[in-house]
């Protein structure tokens, strides 16, 4: 092997190593643009409704819930409390919040009951319901006593945890 070939090989390995780092970092950048890893990649319409809700886009303030047949809101964002920063992608199933280990969101907090509240989809909107908790579930400023419509951007306070629905 000539000296030149070896020098080229030597540089090729370094370039290869840096290309690997570069690929990784470029791919990582996508995470920075959608920081919470919360954006669904695509929307599979398996149900009968053909229309689709345009995804994320900045919050367009609480909309009339009955506008569309599809459920408004794509993710629950934990804004305060021990799990602040967590995002739960919403699908078609309910989200339970409580201290019980099988809850979707396990709030490790003395002010939260075992099964505190649930957030579930109903006729195109997300509803929040208190499950008989000790300290109550607060929608904006008022304690809820019956299932209430959860609009995007309205804070739900459960113990020290505050969650918000993302549009």
């Amino acid at each position: 092997m000539s000296e030149l070939t070896l020098t080229l090989l030597r540089l090729a390995f370094l370039v290869g190593l840096w290309l690997f780092v570069l690929f990784t970092v470029l791919a990582l950048r996508r995470d920075l643009r959608a920081p919470r890893e919360a954006r669904p990649a695509r929307l599979d319409l398996s149900g009968p409704e053909p229309e689709r809700v345009r995804q994320p886009k900045p919050v367009k303030a609480p909309k009339q819930p009955k506008k569309s047949k599809n459920t408004v809101g794509t993710a629950l964002l934990v804004e305060e409390g021990p799990l602040a920063g967590t995002v739960i992608l919403l699908g078609t199933e309910q989200v339970t919040i409580g201290r019980a280990p099988d809850s979707t969101l396990i709030a490790d907090d003395d002010y939260v009951s075992s099964r505190h509240a649930r957030i579930y989809p109903s006729e195109g909107v997300w509803m929040v319901e208190d499950l008989g908790s000790t300290n109550g579930t607060w929608l904006d400023r008022s304690r809820i006593t019956s299932p209430a419509v959860l609009n995007p951007g309205v804070p739900v306070r459960i113990g020290r945890t505050v969650v918000k629905l993302q549009a």
Binding site: T5, V25, R42, D44, L83, L89
Partner: protein, 473 residues
Amino acid sequence: MTMTERGFRPAVRFTQPTRRWLELFLIACGWGLGVLGTLQVGWTTGEPLGRRFWITAVVVGALAVIAHLVVRWRIPYADPFLLPVATTLTIIGLVMIYRLDVAAIQSAERRNQIPPTPDVYAQLTWYAIATMLFFAVVLVVRDHRRLQRYTYTCGLFGILLLILPLLPVIGSTVNGATLWVRVGSFSFQPGEAAKILLTIFFAGYLVMTRDSLAVVRTKFLGIGLPRARDLGPIFVAWVVSLAVLIFQKDLGTSLLFFGLFVTMLFIATQRRVWLGLGAVLFAVGALGSYFAFSHVRVRVQIWIDPFSFAQDQGYQIVQGLYGFANGGLFGTGLGNGYPQLVPFANTDFIVSALGEELGLTGLFAIVLLYGVLIERGLRTAVAVRDPFGQLLAAGLSITMALQVFVIIGGVTRLIPLTGLTTPFLSYGGSSLVANWIIVGLLMVMSHRARQPVAVQHSEPDALTQVVPITRGK
């Protein structure tokens, strides 16, 4: 199902990008890099590569692809960066170990001695075992929350493993540090396994106690101090670390455990006072052991002035520094330097071997790969939905970060040298296996964190484990 009773029809199904193809692509890049490096070693040193090389390359590739397929099958939403980066680091380690083998064989031939058995095949076997254990973690653990039930069991076994090398028959001292257990011809470092078990224990324990640990009672000089009775755990961790330092003469492990505990305490309570307290305790311990123990004093003196010990205790680090100097900015090229002149070049000093042959440029790329690995781990900690998982993911990433910092810092003379293995790169089974288990745990956690809720509930058998409710309240 309450949902169907309410007449709700599933209309929209969300799919999270799994980015598994990216993972496969990156794995392929890492494998190609390994092949290129090994070919370069062969051509430069004139050592024939032969069939053995291609078998090795195929085995490594197969292991990586099977790992990828298992991830696709069981934890499709797991983080797509952890596996390829860990695989690439392991492959770079294999290339360097092979390169050092070649050096050893050639120098033995020149002196007409029997060539030593190459280490690279042993390391390859360990990589296979590590991959199997990675599968075991992915298939068996599945839900990290189950680990929380074994908090105290893990703590107990972790401590037992830590003191195991001190036991008379099986413990053995290598190069002055008692951190090996030898049963027959088989030896391992229990400290590596203890690292994982203790992280699980710290996470479980801190989840239970963090509320009381976060209480600030006494104010002293404007700093809010925790209550006196809450200081217990940090003192226990401190005493245990000191005991490891005194009895096993293992500076690295001691530093690792104390650092891990203090950082996790800080993450759990979000009180900076714990960091301050940890720093004070560390300073007291470090100064105390500097004056009390000669082995610590010698390490510090070598660190401050290695060249006056160049022929005896400082030989290793001085040779390592010469290696870095010889490598310069772009390195000598694989197979072209003299990394074999450094004692233990394939374990503690693999970084200096890489620094010599790949140069500063190559070393930075490797450090960046560690950075990516740790960032993904911490990101998993942010995304996980339960407090135990958060602490566990953060703790595991921090163990890795601390270890990388302590060993690379030691070899480059930023801090006094302590014997720790370089994760994934170093020759040695215990370390490789332990680090792959960490990757497995992080990937299981990130799968659960990134998995959309809908999928989680609609396929209860396949993807989730229903944790039985322990009636606490």
